[in-house]
């Protein structure tokens, strides 16, 4: 054996080694495997390995009717279930030139914003937890429960809603809906400042996120980073503003943009978006017009042959649905441009040179939902 003459400093051998982060790792929030190549604790390179929850949704869609596809879209990004449903409905309605009742547009927008709030609450809860602040998890899930109860009463489901149908929504609103939403907004307006007091201003939290994982605007565009993560780098990509759909043309809200591009800025964009979501809901909740909750649709929906594309803003960014139809009742090809997949592609670029602990903070600030990446 070689005799050690000098004291060890830990820097003797500079060799690269690999760590498999995942597929079961608490901070990946699902079955994502990152093969991280490290030098010491500095990340040199990382490679995402996917497919642990690949269900072949795009292939399944080729055998399903448009009404059935809606139920599969829930299973993409389950925290944006409502917006995913809406994307398919909007395509079908747009192509078949269905006049959607005003009431439906209002209901859809309110539901989508509630969904966004609920998603951001869960993200905030998990982000704190990933960085070691377990209390946030309880705060976030406590408040999220109120929204899930509202969903359950009207849609019947708490997580996977499948509330949208082509032409409208599945059922009319529950009589308690308006009052409960107003109560919730009143409640959450008091609770959201608590989030800031608990986590945003915390020194440890700031040290772990400020200046970590900086993404420039050019890179955000080049990699196709959308949603709060893209807006945290100053990339104006809000589909609700750019191509308004449903009731978004009727409401006033700000697109939150920040210039710093680090993990903290992505965090702050999401916190501010929660305020904006509440503003949008408040503008709509008292003005829901009376009328039917669905337009009259044919029992069998067939899209004429052609190619259609619909973009919606989910909680994590831009979801694009690309449908090629050959005129049959099932689509020829469906492609989901999932926001999480694009956001994941930048992870390697921005975590190079960061410490492995920072990788957790960066990952948390992107808010990945793995079933949306794998599809």
């Amino acid at each position: 054996m070689e005799e050690i003459t000098k004291p060890l400093t830990g820097l003797e051998k500079e060799e690269e080694y690999f760590i498999n982060m995942g597929p079961q790792h608490p901070s990946t929030h699902g079955v994502l495997r990152l093969v991280v190549s490290l030098q010491g604790e500095i990340v040199k390179h990382l490679d995402p390995h996917l497919g642990y929850i690949h269900r072949g949704i795009e292939k399944m869609c080729e055998k399903d009717t448009y009404a059935q596809i809606i139920h599969l879209t829930d299973r993409l990004d389950y925290l944006s279930a409502h917006m995913n449903n809406e994307a398919i409905c909007l395509i079908v309605e747009d192509v078949l030139e269905v006049e959607v009742p005003e009431r439906v547009k209002y209901i859809r927008t309110i539901m989508a914003e509630l969904q966004r709030l609920n998603s951001h609450q869960l993200w905030w809860a998990c982000m704190g937890m990933d960085l070691g602040a377990l209390t946030t998890f309880f705060y976030g899930l406590r408040d999220r429960e109120h929204i899930l109860d509202i969903f359950e009463e009207t849609c019947g489901g708490r997580l996977l809603l499948s509330y949208n149908t082509p032409g409208g929504v599945m059922y009319d609103l529950h009589p308690n809906f308006q009052q409960k939403v107003k109560d919730f907004i009143k409640y959450f307006r008091k609770k959201l400042p608590e989030y800031d007091r608990l986590l945003t201003g915390n020194v440890i939290f700031q040290n772990r996120t400020k200046g970590i994982g900086i993404l420039s605007k050019e890179d955000a565009i080049n990699y196709g980073i959308t949603g709060p993560s893209g807006r945290g780098s100053g990339f104006s990509c809000d589909i609700r503003k750019k191509y308004p759909y449903s009731a978004y043309p009727y409401v006033k809200f700000n697109e939150i943009l920040r210039e710093e591009g680090d993990s903290l800025s992505r965090y702050k964009v999401r916190i501010d978006e929660m305020w904006e979501s509440m503003n949008i809901i408040e503008q709509l909740i008292d003005n829901i017009p009376e009328g039917p909750h669905t337009a009259k649709m044919k029992p069998v929906l067939k899209l004429p042959a052609g190619e259609y594309f619909q973009r919606v803003e989910t909680s994590r960014g831009e979801l694009g649905v690309y449908i090629i139809s050959d005129g049959a009742k099932t689509p020829y090809r469906v492609k989901f441009r999932s926001p999480n997949m694009c956001n994941l592609s930048v992870l390697d670029h921005i975590s190079r040179g960061a410490k492995i602990a920072d990788l957790v903070a960066i990952g948390a600030s992107f808010d990945f939902v793995i079933p949306d990446i794998d599809r």
């Binding site: 990699y223 090809r333 441009r337 997949m341």
Partner: protein
């Protein structure tokens, strides 16, 4: 820039392009050999500057394996769809665009995995969703899964 001007410009860059206009997009179909050159000039010219590649899809239209690129310019707001296809199903090849759009890396991996199109110049082309030893390409229309036979029709 409106669709008529875009058409003119694209014809100037590649001579053999066919056009199709729908309600949403102007679609340009070019051969795989010309795609990279066209994308490069569309991205780098200041009057087009298509910098945001928001969707890449593989499509199997029976006689051809297609790749569809949806592009948008964040500065000008105009959009264009580029299509390219190869008839070779045994060894379909195309040029990678990762050098222009870095976000394309994972998407090209996905298309390779599910359609079997090889992207030349891709830094790390590999199976992404399916296991490494998987036979066949599941999203092709003629794919038959002999192991897990679930007939959904």
């Amino acid at each position: 820039m409106d669709n008529a001007k875009l058409k003119e410009l694209v014809t100037g860059i590649v001579s053999e392009a066919s056009f199709e206009e729908s309600k949403q997009f102007l679609t340009v179909t070019v051969s795989p050999a010309q795609l990279h050159q066209l994308l490069k000039s569309l991205k780098e010219r200041p009057d087009t500057s298509f910098d945001f590649l928001f969707c890449i899809s593989g499509v199997d239209i029976q006689d051809k394996l297609m790749v569809v690129y949806h592009l948008e310019s964040t500065a000008h707001g105009h959009k264009i769809v580029l299509k390219t296809g190869t008839e070779n199903r045994e060894k379909p090849e195309m040029e990678s665009i990762v050098d222009l759009y870095k976000g394309a890396e994972l998407h090209e991996n996905e298309i390779f995995d599910l359609f079997g199109i090889v992207f030349n110049g891709h830094p790390n082309l590999r199976r992404m969703f399916m296991p490494d030893d998987w036979n066949g390409y599941p999203l092709r229309k003629d794919y038959v899964d002999e192991v897990n036979i679930i007939d959904l029709s």
